[in-house]
Symmetry: C4
Subunit: 255 residues, 4 copies
Amino acid sequence: MAKKFFVEREKISSDGFRYRGLSSSRLENLTDAVFGFSITLLVISSQVPTTYIELQASMYSFIGFIFCTMLLLGLWNNHSNFFLYYGLHDKTTKALNALFIFMLLFYIYPLKYLFSYIGTAIYATLKRNLGDNSEALKVAWRDLAAADLNVLQWKDLIIRFGLGLLLIYLILVLMHLNANKKADELELSDKERYITKTFIHEYLLLMSVCVLSILIVLFFGGRAAGYAGGAYTLIPILLPLYHRYRIRKMKKLEL
Amino acid sequence: MAKKFFVEREKISSDGFRYRGLSSSRLENLTDAVFGFSITLLVISSQVPTTYIELQASMYSFIGFIFCTMLLLGLWNNHSNFFLYYGLHDKTTKALNALFIFMLLFYIYPLKYLFSYIGTAIYATLKRNLGDNSEALKVAWRDLAAADLNVLQWKDLIIRFGLGLLLIYLILVLMHLNANKKADELELSDKERYITKTFIHEYLLLMSVCVLSILIVLFFGGRAAGYAGGAYTLIPILLPLYHRYRIRKMKKLEL
Amino acid sequence: MAKKFFVEREKISSDGFRYRGLSSSRLENLTDAVFGFSITLLVISSQVPTTYIELQASMYSFIGFIFCTMLLLGLWNNHSNFFLYYGLHDKTTKALNALFIFMLLFYIYPLKYLFSYIGTAIYATLKRNLGDNSEALKVAWRDLAAADLNVLQWKDLIIRFGLGLLLIYLILVLMHLNANKKADELELSDKERYITKTFIHEYLLLMSVCVLSILIVLFFGGRAAGYAGGAYTLIPILLPLYHRYRIRKMKKLEL
Amino acid sequence: MAKKFFVEREKISSDGFRYRGLSSSRLENLTDAVFGFSITLLVISSQVPTTYIELQASMYSFIGFIFCTMLLLGLWNNHSNFFLYYGLHDKTTKALNALFIFMLLFYIYPLKYLFSYIGTAIYATLKRNLGDNSEALKVAWRDLAAADLNVLQWKDLIIRFGLGLLLIYLILVLMHLNANKKADELELSDKERYITKTFIHEYLLLMSVCVLSILIVLFFGGRAAGYAGGAYTLIPILLPLYHRYRIRKMKKLEL
């Protein structure tokens, strides 16, 4: 019967990892609630428009918000996969999850601040170059000017953002190391151990991009903030490359 | 035994579609949290009344809010049905769901703005014509005047609203197209494939109403905003008609 | 085995009603999210204390908030039981649930307003009579004075509150009537049909108390607001009496 | 098969307690939503930074927030374990859970106030001693000065905090006493009865630390607030000691 077949199929990831945490626990419910509110607050919170021009101006932050939401949903996906794959609820995982929640919440506002600034700047510049001269655009520029950042502050903001992301990925690495340590207890197959190590390597790769970005502003100062930020564009290039390499190697090893 | 019978019955929709996603995943939990929060904020957020008259005045937005809530719950229902029917959690669905969440959040405030304005206007006009002359009514009128929209702004608001709805339905269409592409994998029966196509057609119908509304203001300007808004009343007329036609056709085809 | 026994036991209510909706659907998840936020916002929202005296003053609303929270959790309990008992997710139930969510959200602020006022008044009067003369008490009195209600406003507030509660219970009655109509489909036993009717009667009893309270202020005006509010104390007297009567009758009928 | 083994293993706690509430009910969903929201609001709420210096200043409360979040997640863990271990959903549990939710929400702001003050004070002092002289530090000091507490207010705050925690633990004790009373019905083994009593003892231990802290400020006044707060450091010392003693005794008793 189709139904049964489907349920069976769902128990294994496309990589061939058997899901050990299919029934979500309260730990995951709680984290989902926190993620859901964070994302909602990120987009909605500080901008209750009361006049029409304010409403229009708030649209300028669109680009910033979409990046921001995607980053958060990406982290949620990582978190979700960990619990789906290993189904671990031991004390180490609980403690690391508590830290994860805390880091997430504490970095929501710097994140919003950074992305909203960049997004608005990009969009407003674009609009101005296209000859737009509306009230809303002026409000957006005024907001940008009010929040204007000097070179030292840019340096600080880049370090803060990098450090936050670094710590979040560090927590994910520690979670996977804990799962790896429990490999025998979880009866992970050779293939599953290999995939676990791939996860760890990938998070370490992400962490080193964060380190690179921080080093750029530490050595070259706030004026290099653009390059430091640009370093993150390495992620969508390096990560898929490394992932493909690991998958190819896995097939060679006949796991 | 009754219990068993009931559970069996629940596994199939009234149309005869076997539910493939009965146990809700974290993807759905997250989306529910976002929906729940959005609806709550929509009704509650910006209006913490501190005096009695403010409390009374806030009641004027009742009509606007009920439409707004119903629209959001309608979208939730569409989203919910998709996951219930197909139980898909592949990467395409995840990415589309992320976009869905983003669009939803980004259009909460314009939605609130639009419906709160219209609802308050209708109710306040009604009350004034009935001879009401209370403090609360004056506060409501003052709020309306403060948010007063000129013809150009109405045009813009109608386009914005139409575009938002259009994109949300587009995401739903893409989700269903993805399910349709996976029809063999999901072992959809002929009937289920037919119902899937019906869903897609209905969302396309909704999208074309949005396009019609946008075209009206594009051609006739903001003064035609009333007609552009009125175009949406086509939905509760056309949609059930088309749905009944498809069901009748399904029966003829003996699926 | 104990585990199994326990699970078995849980499938039947203490009244002998077989649970038909043990696995909670997304409809319930969404409603839980809305309830959770509402309760949280009710207690937390408008009062972010910045000085110590404000923090102290906010404690005066303790009594009001506890009533308010209990009322909401009581409604949640009614809602939760309905889905647990009948496990219905048909279109009527979905539509009624949407209305339920809307009514709930729309009546949060009047509820908060009313109970916070009454609670603070009671507690502040108590404190003053006990000779307290602190800064915080003065702040609480100032808040009370600012929100001061005249006789007409009391009348209006009592009507509003009564009407809100009346409509919420009406939705619950309609939900149960719908379940009753589907009694054959749900294969309700005679006992279960009897319990369903008991639910309906009890909600009708609650509704008539709301009507009584509204009638008091309609006939005697805002000065009778105390009596109109006091009418609700009939609930904890009449409801258990009627419940016991129905249970005793059920045993006599040997259901 | 690994999967099956794992699921089997998960049904028993590391102490050997069979989980009776594996499938989380709506009662737990609701409480999770409230917890998730509370934690999110605790960290995010009152501090929407609009200038860069405000953003930097908000980071001073880091230490306070991490303690606060950990305290809440600790309480969540206690709550979660209770429902996981006993799976009780009787009326007493429901009523106690309602009180638990209320106490939690009512103590969020005093908690935030206390920890944010202490955390900022510690961090700002540290920074000043390290020679920092930034704008952000000045903002943080100004905030501290604005919220400055005199001796009497410290006394009051310590009592309030202690009383809140005492009541929350009291509710947890009552919940476990209720489970203990139902031991036969739940078919608790001797070992499980022993663990239940261990829980109760441990919560009583936590309560007596609260009482100790309150007594210190009652006898020595607000100037002893530091010692009264310091009393809570007994918890991470006494609790593990007592826990180890009970586990050792359990092994001796060969349960």
